[in-house]
């Protein structure tokens, strides 16, 4: 087709290609790679959850559910969010079951933004935030976070980027790719900032259960003053190892959920029914399901931190999610060069920090959602590799 570009949606054509995608293409040409580049659990979904999904199919639960999701599931979600996050949501009007947290963010942004509205988000971050904002006709405005600050989001940095056109702020802690977490005082300061500037706060807390060193996640849902302007995104992919089920949810005040639901209803209809039954089963014994995985992640995180220290690779202290974000700038290579040469020399895949925003330059993301044997081998190879630089 001639002039394809002219026929396509400009705001989509102009989106950058995902840096992760580019790196995936390089890695997938090779065999026997030890990959620390995978942003999903290495554990399979607990068997009782898979079994419940199979049983639901055997019973013929293969039809649509209500747009917002199974009522029993929404009730279980509201109870979990109250207990675990400290937020009170009405399951009938304030909880929506979505196809991954990415859908939750998409429908939220589309419900909120008029063309030209600005949305603050912090980098380095999950690859989708900027593009999702742009796809909803908003203007993404990145706020940098830094290793010296343990990648916390500071109000000073936010103040520097906020404008009269700013409509919303997207935050993600525990953070992919840095492993950063926020303390109570950070959460309250950011909440205060959002209130002061009359912003909607969209908090992606998908890694909420994955915090280390005795820290417990502090949810924005636990700040009562935010209630009317907070959108909470959470789901089953990480803590329950259910990525392929694409099960997540949005909690938002009724005035906003009404409009969010309208988009979900027309675009998605409802989340996959067998997946919803799996999620319902996942709500039965969350602590028991997560405990062995969480213990394993924490030990691997300790191991990787010690291994990088031994190899002379500086790293801030990752206190959440399953990512380490070591600083490789001192070896005189760009993040991309480092990742490509490491892959060439040692067949170990890590993701260049620049895939997560420009200020990820000088860092690489190493996922420890990988068995100990592979992690040990990868750490040894990385140590050997940096000695050659």
């Amino acid at each position: 087709m001639t002039d394809a570009r002219g026929r396509l949606a400009r705001h989509i054509v102009d989106l950058p290609k995902s840096g992760i995608r580019e790196f995936f293409d390089i890695v997938s040409t090779r065999r026997g790679v030890i990959s620390l580049a995978i942003g999903e659990p290495d554990f399979d979904t607990p068997w009782h959850i898979r079994e419940a999904s199979i049983a639901s199919l055997e019973e013929g639960c293969s039809h649509y559910t209500g747009n917002a999701g199974l009522p029993a599931l929404r009730q279980a979600i509201a109870a979990y969010v109250r207990e675990r996050f400290g937020g009170a949501y009405d399951p009938a009007h304030e909880v929506l079951v979505t196809v991954g947290a990415s859908e939750g963010l998409d429908v939220t942004l589309r419900a909120l933004l008029n063309p030209g509205d600005e949305v603050l988000y912090h980098e380095p971050c999950f690859v989708s935030y900027g593009p999702e904002i742009a796809m909803a006709h908003g203007v993404p405005v990145a706020v940098e976070t830094h290793a010296e600050d343990n990648f916390r989001l500071s109000v000073e940095a936010l103040e520097a980027k906020v404008s009269p056109r700013t409509k919303a702020l997207v935050v993600n802690f525990p953070n992919n790719p840095t492993g950063a977490v926020l303390g109570r005082e950070d959460v309250e300061a950011i909440a205060d900032f959002a209130i002061r500037h009359d912003l909607i706060l969209i908090s992606d807390e998908i890694y909420a259960e994955l915090t280390w060193g005795g820290r417990r996640h502090v949810s924005f849902a636990s700040v009562p003053a935010l209630r009317d302007r907070l959108v909470l995104l959470h789901g089953y992919s990480k803590a329950w190892a259910m990525t392929g089920f694409r099960m997540a949810y949005v909690c938002a005040p009724a005035w906003l959920m009404d409009t969010i639901l309208k988009i979900h209803q027309y675009a998605i209809m409802c989340a996959s029914t067998p997946s919803q039954y799996a999620a319902l089963e996942a709500m039965r014994q969350p602590a028991e399901d997560m405990a062995p995985m969480l213990r394993a992640y924490e030990m691997r995180r300790n191991f990787l931190r010690a291994a990088f220290a031994e190899a002379g690779i500086p790293m801030h202290n990752p206190a959440g999610a399953f990512y380490a974000f070591p600083q490789i700038a001192r070896f005189g290579l760009s993040a991309r060069e480092f990742a490509v040469r490491l892959l060439d020399a040692e067949n170990v895949a890590v993701v260049p920090g620049t895939a997560f925003g420009a200020c990820g330059e000088g860092f690489v993301r190493c996922s420890y959602a990988t068995g100990m044997e592979q992690l040990k081998e990868a750490a040894a190879r990385i140590a050997r590799f940096v000695k050659t630089l």
């Binding site: 995902s18 992760i20 790196f23 995936f24 890695v27 997938s28 790679v33 990959s35 580049a37 995978i38 942003g39 999903e40 290495d42 999950f126 690859v127 989708s128 992919n176 213990r295 030990m299 691997r300 300790n302 191991f303 010690a306 291994a307 895949a349 993701v351 895939a355 100990m372 040990k376």
Partner: protein, 160 residues
């Protein structure tokens, strides 16, 4: 620390003290001392390989045997259970609730060897009322490990 240490060792008894120390965030000397202490206290009773007998050369025959016994005035089931456990054919002995008292896991070189153990050694013990022997046909899982070879990692090599 000991709980986490045992968790690591249950999965991989060959993990080096250095790696375990890194995983637990303690000095290696502390890990070695803790293992020595656990061995001394009898919490760790030995170190074994998990063998898939279906693939091992000269696979032995093994059986689960339900044993009903008469409890004794002094010591209940203990004396008989300990006596039975001394036979080298017996791999494991458990006191059970329910329809029988002791559950034994027994192995021998052949079906005949196990049968002879039951009829000549076990059933003749004073206090043993009855036995029911079930031969193992195939092992699917043992010590928490699936015997089927793990499949390939089904995840993509790079994901966001």
């Amino acid at each position: 620390m000991e709980e986490s240490l045992l968790e690591i060792l249950r999965k991989n008894a060959k993990e080096s003290p250095e790696t375990m120390a890194m995983m637990l965030g303690v000095p290696a000397g502390e890990v070695e001392a803790a293992i020595a202490r656990l061995e001394r206290e009898g919490v760790i009773r030995g170190w074994q390989a998990i063998v898939n007998e279906d693939l091992a050369p000269r696979a032995p025959v093994s059986a689960a045997i339900e044993v009903r016994v008469t409890p004794e005035r002094e010591g209940g089931f203990n004396r008989i259970a300990e006596q039975v456990s001394r036979f080298e054919e017996v791999e494991a002995t458990y006191l059970m609730s329910g329809g029988y008292d002791l559950l034994l896991f027994v192995r021998g070189e052949s079906l005949l060897a196990v049968a002879r153990f039951v009829s000549e050694k076990l059933a003749t013990i004073h206090g043993v009322l009855s036995t029911a022997t079930h031969f193992r046909l195939k092992t699917y899982k043992q010590n928490g490990v699936l015997m089927a070879r793990p499949g390939e990692d089904k995840r993509l090599a790079v994901t966001p």
